[in-house]
C-alpha cells in the first residue's frame, strides 16, 4: 500500500482529530478573565507591575487546579495609555470574548470609560487602584484605598509630630482637588488650620517661588499630594533649599510609583506617608509574594501598591467564585456582598457590602534610606468617604460617581 502526500495528510488530520476529540469533551470549559491595562505608553510604569500581578494570581489559581475544576484563561489587552482604546477593548472583552470578569483600568478616566460598558453587558468589573472615591455601582468592586482611609490615619499622626498649622500642595486635577478637601477636613477635625492650599498643573517642575511662599506662611507641616515626574522636583528642591529639617513633610502619593527610590536618602528621609502596602512589610505572605515575583522573572523592587491591589482583586474574585459555586454574574456578586475577605501580601482585605469598596489595613510609614518603613499598622479601615454617600444595599440600582461634600 502506498500513500501519496494528500492521502497522508488526510489520514493524519483525521487521526489527530480523533485524538483530540475526547479531550475536548473531558476538559472543563475555561473561566475567562479579562484584563485591560496600559502595559505600554506613559502609564506603563503602573500598568506593567499590575499586569504581572494579575498573571501571577491566575498562575497561582491554575497551579492549584483552577476554579471549580475549571482552568482560568486570560484575555489581556494593552490599552497603550490611550483612553480611546479602553472603550474599544471593553467592547471586545464583553461582546466577542464574553469574559466572566474584567480586572483593570488605571486612571480614573480609564475606569469611567469602561464602567458603563461593563454594567450594560452585565460583566463583573474589578478596579484595583487607589483613587479619589465616590463610585457607587453594584457591578464594580474597588480594591484600592480612598482618600479618607489614607488621610484619616496620616494627618493626625503628622500633626502630632509637628503642629497645628498646615500648608497643602496638591496636583491640579480631580484627585488632587478632592484630596485637598479631605486633608482640610481632617486638619480641622484634629484642631488644626490649613493656612494655604496651592494647586499645580502636572507639568510644573519649578517650585522655587512656592518654597519661598511656604516659608513666609511659616506652617508647622506641609502635606503634598503631588503626582508624577515633574512634581517629584518639589521634594528635591525642598531638600536642596535646606527646608527638609525645618518643616516636616507628609504625602499621600509619594512612593506609590516607587518614587522614594528615585530620591536620595538625604532627600527622602523623614517624609511621612500612609498606604496599604510597603515592600518592607514583614509577613510570610509578603515574603512569599516577593519570592514568587522574582521567580516569574520580575524584580521585587518594582512591586507597588497597585500590583498588590490587583493580586488581591483577582484572589477576592476567585474566593467569591468558589463560594458561589459558579462564575455567573449574580451569584458571584452575592458571594462578594457577604462580606468576604482574603489575606494577601498587604494583610486582610474585606469587601464592604455597602459600597463594594475595600476595608483594608492602612499603614503609617516613614521614608528611611529609600525604603518605606512601617511605623504602625491600623487594621481594617473603612472607606468612610464613599460610605457617606453610597449604600448599594438600600439603593442597588445606583450608578453614579458622587462628589463628596466635605
Amino acid at each position: 500500500m502506498t500513500f501519496n502526500r494528500r492521502q497522508f495528510l488526510a489520514a493524519g488530520t483525521a487521526m489527530a482529530g480523533t485524538g483530540l476529540m475526547p479531550r475536548i469533551g473531558r476538559a472543563a470549559e475555561p473561566i475567562k478573565l479579562g484584563s485591560i491595562l496600559d502595559t505600554s505608553g506613559i502609564f506603563d510604569a503602573y500598568g506593567k507591575p499590575m499586569d504581572r500581578a494579575m498573571r501571577l494570581a491566575v498562575a497561582d489559581l491554575n497551579d492549584g487546579g483552577g476554579l471549580l475544576d475549571r482552568p482560568i484563561e486570560i484575555r489581556a489587552y494593552d490599552t497603550q495609555s490611550d483612553m480611546a482604546l479602553y472603550a474599544q477593548y471593553a467592547q471586545q472583552l464583553t461582546r466577542q470574548d464574553q469574559v466572566d470578569v474584567v480586572h483593570g483600568g488605571i486612571l480614573s478616566a480609564s475606569r469611567e470609560a469602561i464602567r458603563q460598558t461593563m454594567r450594560r453587558s452585565n460583566t463583573l468589573y474589578f478596579y484595583n487602584v487607589m483613587y479619589e472615591g465616590g463610585v457607587c455601582d453594584r457591578n464594580i468592586f474597588i480594591n484600592g484605598v480612598t482618600p479618607a482611609q489614607q488621610v484619616e490615619v496620616l494627618i493626625p499622626h503628622a500633626m502630632k509630630q509637628s503642629g497645628k498649622k498646615v500648608y497643602v500642595l496638591a496636583a491640579d486635577y480631580n484627585y488632587g482637588q478632592i484630596m485637598a478637601r479631605w486633608i482640610n477636613k481632617f486638619v480641622r477635625d484634629n484642631g488644626g488650620e490649613v493656612v494655604a492650599t496651592d494647586f499645580f498643573p502636572l507639568d510644573v517642575a519649578d517650585f522655587g517661588s512656592t518654597i519661598a511662599k511656604i516659608q513666609s506662611a511659616a506652617p508647622d507641616l506641609v502635606v503634598a499630594p503631588l503626582v508624577g515626574g515633574a512634581h517629584l522636583s518639589f521634594f528635591r528642591q525642598w531638600a536642596a533649599s535646606g527646608m527638609k529639617d525645618r518643616i516636616p513633610l507628609a504625602s499621600t502619593t509619594l512612593g506609590v510609583g516607587n518614587e522614594h527610590k528615585v530620591l536620595t536618602a538625604e532627600e527622602g528621609d523623614g517624609i511621612m506617608v500612609a498606604y496599604n502596602y510597603s515592600q518592607e512589610i514583614e509577613s510570610p505572605e509578603n515574603d512569599g509574594f516577593k519570592a514568587k515575583w522574582e521567580a516569574a522573572g520580575g524584580n521585587a523592587g518594582e512591586i507597588n501598591e497597585f500590583a498588590i491591589s490587583t493580586y488581591a482583586g483577582v484572589m477576592t474574585w476567585a474566593e467569591a467564585v468558589r463560594q458561589a459555586g459558579t462564575a455567573a454574574h449574580d451569584p458571584v456578586v452575592e458571594a462578594l456582598e457577604s462580606g468576604l475577605s482574603v489575606d494577601g501580601p498587604s494583610g486582610k482585605i474585606t469587601v464592604d457590602p455597602q459600597t463594594h469598596h475595600a476595608i483594608a489595613d492602612v499603614r503609617l510609614m516613614e521614608i528611611r534610606d529609600q525604603k518605606m518603613q512601617v511605623l504602625e499598622t491600623l487594621p481594617q479601615r473603612q472607606p468612610m468617604d464613599t460610605q457617606a454617600v453610597c449604600d448599594l444595599g438600600a439603593n442597588p440600582g445606583d450608578n453614579t460617581q458622587y462628589e463628596i461634600d466635605i
Binding site: 506603563d44 510644573v204 517642575a205 517661588s209 517629584l232 536642596a240 518614587e259 528615585v262
Partner: protein, 288 residues
C-alpha cells in the same frame, strides 16, 4: 525685607533658567533657521548623560559642564550629517524631520532607561537669607547663565570664528566665494547649538525628576522665548527671558503657579501681536 530679596533671587533665577533653556534653540533656530522640535529631547539627553556619568562616579560638575555638552553635541553632529544637512533652507521640512527625531529619541531613551523617573540630588546646599532658606543651586544657575551669555557674546562678536559663522548664516554664497565652506560652518554651528541644549538639560537635571518625555516641558517655553526675542541672538534672548521670567514670577508669588503660567502665555500673545518680528526688531536693533 528678606522676602523682597528672596523674590528678587527667584525672579533672577526664572530669567536665567528661561535663557538657559532657550540658548541652544536660539543658535539652531534663530541663527540657522532650522525649526528644531527635538530641542527638548536634546536637553533630556543632556540630563541622562549627566545622571549616567554621576552614577559612574564622575564629579557632578564635570559631568554637567563637560561630558553632557560633548555627548549631546556629538549626537547633534550625527543628526546634522544624516538628516538636517539635506534640509537647510526648507523650514517646514526641518520641522517634520525634527519632530520625527524627537519621537525617535524619546523611544530610544525609553528603551535604554525605562519609562521611570530618575534623578540625582542637588550638589549645592541651601543658603539662608535672613529667616528664609533658598535653594543654593538656583544661584548657580544664575551664574552659569550670565557666564554663558558673556561667552556667547565674546565668541560671536569678538572673534573671527564668530564673524565667519554669522556671515555664513546671512550670505552662504558670499562666505563660499571668500573661501569658507558653508557646509562645514553649518555643521560646526549645529554642533554648538546641540551642545548648548545638552548643557541646559544637564544643569537643570539635579532640580527635576527626569523621564524620557521630560523634553516636552521645555520646548514650548524655549520657542516662545526665542521667537519673542526676535532677530538679535543675545539681546533677544536676554530681553524676552527677562520679560517672561519677571511676569511669570510676579504672578506666581501674588496668586498661584497656574496663574503664573497663564500670565506668561498671555504676555507672549500680546507681545507677538504688538511686535510680530520680536522685541529686537524694534528695540536694541543691530545688537548682537
Amino acid at each position: 525685607m528678606d522676602l523682597t530679596v528672596v523674590i528678587g533671587i527667584e525672579i533672577l533665577y526664572a530669567v536665567a533658567s528661561l535663557a538657559l533653556i532657550s540658548v541652544g534653540l536660539a543658535v539652531v533656530f534663530g541663527m540657522m533657521k532650522v525649526i528644531n522640535l527635538a530641542h527638548g529631547e536634546f536637553m533630556m539627553m543632556g540630563g541622562y548623560a549627566t545622571i549616567v556619568s554621576v552614577n559612574l562616579g564622575i564629579n557632578v560638575f564635570v559631568a554637567m559642564l563637560i561630558i553632557a555638552p560633548v555627548v549631546v553635541g556629538l549626537i547633534g553632529l550625527v543628526v546634522e550629517r544624516l538628516v538636517i544637512r539635506h534640509l537647510y533652507g526648507r523650514l517646514v521640512d526641518t520641522m517634520l524631520a525634527t519632530w520625527g527625531l524627537s519621537l525617535f529619541f524619546i523611544g530610544l531613551a525609553t528603551i535604554i532607561f525605562g519609562n521611570t523617573t530618575t534623578g540625582i540630588s542637588t550638589p549645592i546646599p541651601g543658603v539662608a537669607i535672613g529667616n528664609y532658606q533658598i535653594n543654593g543651586y538656583n544661584l548657580f544657575i544664575v551664574v552659569v547663565s550670565v557666564l554663558l551669555m558673556i561667552a556667547l557674546y565674546l565668541v560671536l562678536g569678538r572673534t573671527r570664528l564668530g564673524l565667519i559663522a554669522r556671515g555664513t548664516m546671512q550670505r552662504p554664497d558670499m562666505a563660499s566665494s571668500l573661501g569658507y565652506s558653508p557646509e562645514r560652518i553649518y555643521m560646526a554651528t549645529f554642533f554648538c547649538g546641540s551642545a548648548l541644549s545638552g548643557l541646559a538639560g544637564a544643569i537643570l537635571a539635579p532640580l527635576v525628576g527626569l523621564v524620557p518625555t521630560s523634553g516636552g516641558a521645555y520646548i514650548a517655553k524655549a520657542f516662545i522665548t526665542v521667537i519673542a526675542g526676535g532677530p538679535s541672538l543675545i539681546a533677544g534672548l536676554v530681553s524676552s527671558a527677562s520679560v517672561f521670567g519677571v511676569i511669570d514670577q510676579i504672578f506666581t508669588f501674588a496668586l498661584s503657579p497656574v496663574i503664573g503660567e497663564v500670565a506668561l502665555l498671555i504676555a507672549a500673545v500680546v507681545l507677538l501681536r504688538l511686535l510680530p518680528q520680536g522685541i529686537t526688531a524694534r528695540f536694541f536693533r543691530g545688537r548682537m
